[in-house]
Amino acid sequence: MADLSIEQFQKLNQQIYLKLGLHFDEKKIYFMKSRVAKRMAALGLTETQDYIFRLSYADPQGAEMQELANLITTNETYMFREYEQLQAFANYCLPEVLSAKQARGEKVLRIWSAGCSSGEEPYTLAMIVQEVFPQVQNWDCEIVATDIDENMLKRVAAARYGERSVHDVPEEIRGKYLTRSGLEYVVRPRTAALVKPMHLNLHDRMAMRLMRAFDFIFCRNVLIYFDDLSRKAVVDQFYNSLNRGGFVFLGHSESVGRVTPAFRLKRLEGHLVYVKD
């Protein structure tokens, strides 16, 4: 296996952060070395320095960075994934937005789960909204769940999940919002009704312009697979899609601030969130 010095690991980390927004702790040096070795073998390279150079300055379309991304990221999705971030949403951001709307006499809440995959995220958000704000039943509340993959959207509409998807759902939440059906869990109709699956390609700028007036946008662990320009275009569009005071959530290791300075970074009791002023 080709060697990866500490300095090379740091350079690689820098490039991965710049291009994917992901950061790897120094203890991941061995993990990174083995993944880089696979890519070097595929490319017929023997010197790590050459691979880093290629990744940094000879990968104009971002194809090699994508190959590396596929090796260093997991594609798993399940309910209540990245719990800490959801806590910030549930305990601070959602109450803040709801309270501001109540003060203005508004009763509309719109959330967008962009790149929703099979739907675990939008249904998680639906459960959280109902748990934090039971009066949502009297509001015009919509969680728009978009994805480019029609098969995934069919799974969202079906709202049925296996044990793997619900393993992190707190027990009391599971009983309240899901029902058991054989080996599967079905989202209860009152919760499922909040979620609207919709086909959308995040690269389709005209379709994206129609997405307006959201209070929250979740796009977690999706944009790491985009090149720099596309990622920026999508996040810029998110800014235009949000109401003032609205929040955007990318994956916990993805940085909004790195992509655009348009959002303000806000600290809420140890959580860092991005808001549109």
Binding site: E26, K27, N240, P261
Partner: protein, 352 residues
């Protein structure tokens, strides 16, 4: 809708009170890709307060093919607004080689800030086509300009500038320029570069960290057995901040010179003790990993091999992995049975 009517519509929306509409108009003008659109965007940019719309305008300019977009962006280098200057650099960088003639003009006619920003715009681009710009930059009176040029050339491995960069390592060179030259030579240098560096900075032990780190990188890249003892002696003398660079250099030399019958590659008792101590005390995990791997080059010694076997059950995973790698690459017999006894291959998925 015809191009002319689209242009009219987009120009009208560019004046909208709504921030999102102005952003979309800028984006659409970028895709429309006309001279009139370019002029309108540049005009709007001068008056626009919203950072989001400014950004959209500059993204649009990066999409427009004509030279007006480049020529109109260069003057932004002189803006008082840092966002505009930074965005201009980003746009010109995206334009790639087409921006070089304009950047050359900026280099020859601009003040020191403009010259520096012109080089920022070239960062990451191959030096081919920009040789005149770099030749001027390396001889510039402003140290910032020279430093930026050297950094750029190192990053893109512009080997053709090696001699010039070695030449910049003079006694009276600005310290940051010296450090930048060292970093660049780690990428584009060769064994001769080590000679040049040794003439300028003869004693590694006396160097401040900001010189020592890049020197060690050059040694890691091109050093041989001759450099090993001096680098090894640094481990006991220098603080933790430079240990990664020291360990990297030692490992690189050992790997490069494997098989050479060089007495200077022998790891003496003080070095072995330092490496064991580094592993056993609370130090950054990557350093402990590198130290364990380095001990592998002395694993023919029973006590070192025993120490490494002991490391196979260390609480720190990187130490375990480093020790396993060290033992695997050593010529110790019966290693498989040792690892097998510890059931390491079952529990450490990364060990093959």
């Amino acid at each position: 809708m015809s191009g002319a009517s689209q242009l009219t519509e987009y120009l009208a929306r560019l004046a909208s009170a709504d921030e999102a509409e102005r952003s979309y108009a800028a984006e659409d003008l970028g895709y429309l890709n006309t001279s009139e659109g370019t002029l309108a965007l540049l005009d709007r940019l001068r008056r626009e307060d919203s950072p989001v719309v400014r950004d959209a305008i500059l993204q649009a300019l990066s999409r427009i093919d004509g030279d007006e977009a480049i020529a109109g962006t260069i003057p932004l280098f002189e803006s008082e607004d840092p966002q505009l200057r930074n965005l201009a650099v980003s746009v010109l960088r995206l334009k790639g080689g087409r921006s070089i003639p304009f950047l050359k003009k900026a280099m020859l006619e601009g003040d020191h800030d403009t010259r520096k920003l012109a080089l920022d715009a070239l960062s990451g681009m191959p030096a081919m086509g920009a040789e005149e710009i770099y030749a001027a930059a390396l001889a510039d009176e402003d140290p910032n300009v020279r430093i930026t040029a050297v950094e750029n050339l190192g990053k893109v491995r512009a080997l053709e500038f090696r001699e010039e960069i070695e030449g910049l390592l003079k006694d009276d060179a600005h310290p940051m320029l010296t450090a930048a030259c060292l970093e660049a030579l780690a990428e584009i240098g060769d064994k001769h570069s080590l000679v040049v560096i040794a003439q300028r900075l003869p004693q590694l032990a006396d160097l401040p960290d900001f010189f020592l780190n890049p020197c060690l990188k050059v040694i890691a890249a091109f050093g041989s057995a001759g450099e090993f003892p001096e680098v090894a002696a640094l481990l006991a003398k220098r603080a933790q901040a430079v240990w990664p660079a020291i360990l990297n250099a030692l490992l690189a030399i050992q790997q490069r010179c494997l098989g050479e019958d060089a007495a200077s590659l022998e790891m003496d008792e003080p070095l072995l003790a330092d490496l064991r101590n580094l592993i056993e005390t609370h130090n950054p995990a990557p350093c402990r990993y590198q130290a364990a791997r380095l001990l592998g080059f002395a694993a023919e010694r029973d006590e070192i091999a025993a120490f490494l076997v002991g490391c196979l059950t260390h609480p720190e995973r990187l130490v375990r992995l480093g020790a396993a790698e060290a033992l695997q690459s050593s010529a110790r017999p019966k290693l498989d049975s040792v690892l097998g006894d510890l059931e390491l291959k079952k529990h450490e998925g990364d060990i093959r």
